[in-house]
Symmetry: C2
Subunit: 482 residues, 2 copies
C-alpha cells in the first residue's frame, strides 16, 4: 500500500493560507469542545526517519491552546522503562479527560522493533477507545530520495549533524524493507475504532494542511458522538453467561486449620526462606506482583504482614487501593495500577486491586454492565503483558464463610483498638453476600490464567491461610529462581 502513495503532493502558500484560516479557528473550537465533553485525545506522529515529525508536531501545536496538550517523545528507553512491561511508558502517559497527548513516535516504534505484538497494540487501542479516548494515528511518509537529501542536509551542518544516527543511514539504505514492514503493521492495525492516516510529507504545506484537516474531522466526529450520548465505539459484547451455579467458592473446604504451634514453627521457617528468595529475586531482577482480594475481614492485612515481615522494605511496596481520586477517575480505570507496577527486582503487594471493577463497581453500579463485562478481557490482556515482561503474578482470594465473617466483625466491634477496622459499609457489603459470591465466581472463572492464576485461600483459620499464602509465594519464587 505505502509504495503506491504519491508522497510528493504539493500545496502553494496561497492555497495553504486560505485553507488553514478556517481550520485553525475550528481546531481551537474543537479543542475546547473536546474538553467540555471530557474526551481524551491521543495524537500519534509516526513515520519514517526524517519525514519531519518534530517539525510537524511543532506546526500543529501552534494552533492548540497550550493549557490542553502535552508532547511526549519516545526516545531511548529510560532506566525506569527498561524495568517494566513495554507498554508501561504509554499507559502511564494516556491523557485524562479533555486533554490531548501528542506522541512523537509511539508504540508503533515498538511494533516495528518487535518489542510488542500487533495483537497487543490492537487490544490496547480497543481498550482506550472503548473508554471514550479518541486516537488519531498519523504516518508521515517521504521517498527514499527525499529522505537521503534531508539526512545529507542535516549532516552538512555542525549544528545538526548530531541528529543523524547510524541507524538513520542504515534505514535509508534499507528504505524498501523499512517501508514494507511498516506497511504490514499499518494494515494489521488499521481498525474502524482507530484508523490510520498516511501523510504525504514531502511538501510541508501539504502535510500540515492534511494533518489539520484530519484533526478537525476526527475531533468533530468525536464531539458529535459525545454530544449525542452514543457510545464511542460499538463494543462487540462477548456474551457473558449469567448463571454460575455450583460456583467455585461453594466447593472450597473451609475446615482446614493449623494449631498455634504448627503455625509458629512453619511461619518462622517459611519467612526465613522468603527473606533469602526476596534477595535473589532482587539480584536476578525479577518483578513480582501479588494481588490480594477477599471478603471483608478475610485476613488480607494479616497475610500481607506475614509476608512483609520477612523482607527488606527497600525491595517491596504494599499498595493499598481505595476509591480513585479525581485525577484517577479522569483516566482509564487501569491507569492507576499501571502507575504502581513494580520495576524489575521489586515486589508490589496490592491490598485490593483492579478486580474492584468486576466486584464492588459491578455490584454498586459504579461501572455499567457493558464496562465491567469488558473488563475481564482488559484485565487478562494487562496481566498477560506483565507475565510476558517476566513478572510473577499471583492473585489471592481470601475466603471465609458468612459465619466466620460475622464473628470477626463482632470481635472488631468489641475490641477498642480494632474498632476503626469496622464500618457501616462493611455491614452493607455483607448484606450483598450472594451477589458478591456470584461476582467472585465469575471473576475467578474468567481471569484465572496459567500465567496469572487465582489462588483461593481457605481462610476461616488465619493460621492456615497465612501459611498457605507464604507457601504459595515461596513456591512460585523458587520455581522461577532455581
Amino acid at each position: 500500500m505505502l509504495e503506491q502513495i504519491d508522497v510528493t503532493k504539493k500545496m502553494t502558500k496561497d492555497v495553504y493560507d486560505e485553507k488553514m484560516e478556517s481550520l485553525i479557528i475550528k481546531m481551537g473550537e474543537l479543542q475546547r469542545k473536546c474538553k467540555e465533553c471530557g474526551i481524551p485525545v491521543i495524537l500519534l506522529f509516526d513515520g519514517i526517519d526524517a519525514a519531519g515529525k518534530g517539525f510537524m508536531i511543532n506546526k500543529t501545536i501552534q494552533f492548540l491552546d497550550p493549557r490542553g496538550f502535552k508532547v511526549y517523545t519516545t526516545g531511548k528507553e529510560s532506566e525506569d522503562e527498561k524495568m517494566r512491561p513495554y507498554m508501561w511508558r504509554f499507559f502511564t502517559k494516556t491523557p485524562e479527560k479533555g486533554r490531548i497527548h501528542i506522541f512523537d513516535q509511539s508504540w508503533y516504534k515498538g511494533a516495528f522493533d518487535g518489542k510488542i505484538s500487533e495483537k497487543a497494540v490492537n487490544d490496547f487501542e480497543k481498550m482506550l477507545t472503548d473508554d471514550g479516548v479518541l486516537i488519531i494515528k498519523l504516518f508521515l511518509l517521504i521517498s527514499k530520495k527525499t529522505q537521503k537529501k534531508r539526512l545529507d542536509n542535516l549532516l552538512a551542518s555542525e549544528d545538526t549533524k548530531w541528529r543523524v544516527t547510524k541507524s538513520d543511514l542504515k534505514n535509508n539504505k534499507d528504505y524498501d524493507q523499512v517501508v514494507s514492514r511498516y506497511d504490514e503493521i499499518i494494515v494489521h492495525t488499521d481498525k474502524s475504532y482507530s484508523p490510520w492516516t498516511i501523510v504525504e510529507a514531502t511538501d510541508k504545506n501539504y502535510a500540515s494542511c492534511k494533518i489539520a484537516s484530519v484533526l478537525v474531522e476526527r475531533m468533530e466526529e468525536a464531539v458529535k458522538r459525545a454530544e449525542n450520548g452514543s457510545k464511542p465505539v460499538q463494543s462487540e459484547g462477548e456474551s457473558v453467561d449469567d448463571s454460575f451455579r455450583n460456583g467455585i467458592l461453594n466447593g472450597i473446604d473451609l475446615s482446614k486449620t493449623l494449631t498455634r504451634e504448627e503455625y509458629r514453627k512453619k511461619r518462622k521457617e517459611l519467612q526465613k526462606r522468603l527473606g533469602v528468595l526476596h534477595n535473589k529475586m532482587y539480584l536476578q531482577r525479577v518483578p513480582v506482583v501479588l494481588a490480594f482480594e477477599g471478603w471483608d475481614a478475610g485476613g488480607k492485612g494479616g497475610a500481607i504482614k506475614r509476608l512483609t515481615q520477612a523482607m527488606d522494605p527497600r525491595g517491596y511496596e504494599v499498595v493499598p487501593i481505595a476509591s480513585p481520586n479525581d485525577i484517577e477517575r479522569a483516566h482509564h480505570y487501569l491507569w492507576r495500577f499501571w502507575e504502581k507496577f513494580p520495576k524489575a527486582g521489586h515486589m508490589a503487594i496490592f491490598d485490593r486491586t483492579w478486580y474492584g471493577r468486576v466486584l464492588v463497581e459491578r455490584i454498586e453500579g459504579f461501572a455499567t454492565e457493558e464496562e465491567w463485562k469488558r473488563a475481564y478481557n482488559e484485565i487478562n490482556n494487562m496481566e498477560e503483558q506483565l507475565v510476558e515482561s517476566g513478572c510473577i503474578v499471583l492473585k489471592f482470594w481470601m475466603h471465609v464463610d458468612k459465619d466466620e465473617q460475622e464473628r470477626r466483625f463482632r470481635d472488631r466491634e468489641n475490641t477498642p483498638e480494632k474498632q476503626w477496622k469496622i464500618t457501616d459499609e462493611d455491614w452493607r457489603n455483607r448484606a450483598k453476600w450472594d451477589e458478591y459470591e456470584k461476582a467472585v465466581d465469575e471473576m475467578v472463572l474468567r481471569t484465572s490464567t496459567t500465567g496469572a492464576p487465582w489462588i483461593i485461600v481457605e481462610a476461616n483459620s488465619k493460621y492456615y491461610a497465612r501459611i498457605k499464602v507464604l507457601e504459595t509465594v515461596i513456591e512460585a519464587l523458587e520455581k522461577r529462581l532455581k
Copy 2:
C-alpha cells in the same frame, strides 16, 4: 557529641515485649489521628553504614497500617534525578496530608557528600514544618568494632556479600572522620522545629523500642498541637513592610511600541537565533525555566507562542498553571512546581506560576497572611536551588495599563472565537486592580534576585512585548552558552 554516646545500651526480650505492647497500640491510634488531623509525617532513618537502617525500618512499619505509609530508598541517583536540582528527589516525595513517608537515608546523605548545604537543609525543613509537616529524624549509631563485625558477617555469606561495597569498608576504616563529620552536621541541623534523635543501635530490641517511643512522643505532640488549632511551629515572621508607595509598576513606560514591519522582521530573525540556541542548550544540557505572570489579557499566551514557534517540541514544555487539584492541595504549595521542573537540556515555560501564592492567593484570602508572607523566602530558596543546579531562570511580568486591559477584554467579548478567553472572573480580578498592583510591587521587590531576575515587560504594544521577551531569552541563553 556522637563519640560520647554509649551505643551498647541493651534491653532484654521481656522488658522489650512489655514496653512494646502499649507502644504498638498507641502507634496505631496515633497514625489514625495524624490522618484525621491531616498531618503529613516524614520519618528519616539516617546513620552510619551497617547500623541496621533497613532492619529497623522493617521492624517499625510492621506496627503501622500499610495503607498510610510508603518507604523511599535513597540509593544511587537515577537518570531523572541527576538531571535536576539535588532536592528534587525529596521535594517530589514529600507526603500528602495524613500520610507517612519513610526515608532510608535522606538529604543528610547529600549533606555528608557535600551535595547540599546545611543552610538549604534547614530552609527545607523549616518550610515543611511551617506548613504543618512533622519531621522525625533518627540517626542510628554503632561502634567501629560492631560495624566491622557486621560487615564481616555479611561478607562471609554468598547470599549477602554483594551488599558490602568498597565505600562501606573504607568508611569503617575512617570511622572517626565519618562520625565527626556527621556530628557536625547534626549539631548544625538540630532545630527546635525538627530535632534529631540519636538511636544507639547495637542492641536491636533497645533500638526498636527507642524508635517506637520517639514516634509515639512526636506524633502525640503533633496531634495535640493540631487539635488545639495552634500553629505547628512558631514562625519568626520576618517583618514585611506594608507600604510600597512609588511602586515599581508606576515607573514603567508603557508607550514603547513597534510597527508591524519592524516586528515581523525582528521576530523572524530572533526566532531563527532562538532555534539554534535551543539546540545548543539541549546539547550542553542546560535546563531553563521561564516563568510568565502578568495582568489578565497582558499577552502571556502570545509571547509564549512566539517563543515556542521557534523550538523543537521535544525540548520544551508549556506548563499551564490552574487552581490546584485535590492531590496538590494536600501537599506544600510548591510541590506541584517541583514536579514540573525541567531536566537538564529542557525548557519549562510556566504560564502562571508559584507566584500565585503572593498574588491571587494573597488577595482572595486563599492563603493566610502568615502563609503568603512566608512565601517570599520559600520561593527565593527554591529558585536559588534551581540556579545553583545550573538552571537559567527568567521571570516575566507582562504589564499593561488599566485602559489597555479594558480594550482587550472588550475585544475578546466582541470576537466570537475569542469569547472563551474572557470570563466574569477576569472582570472581578480587574476590580481589584489596586490591590494587585501593590502585591506585584511587593513581589518584584522581594523576589528579584541576580540569579532569577524579574523582567517587567511593557506590553501595551503586543509587538514590542513579544520582541522584548524573545530578546531577553536569547540574551540569557547566549550569555550562558557562549
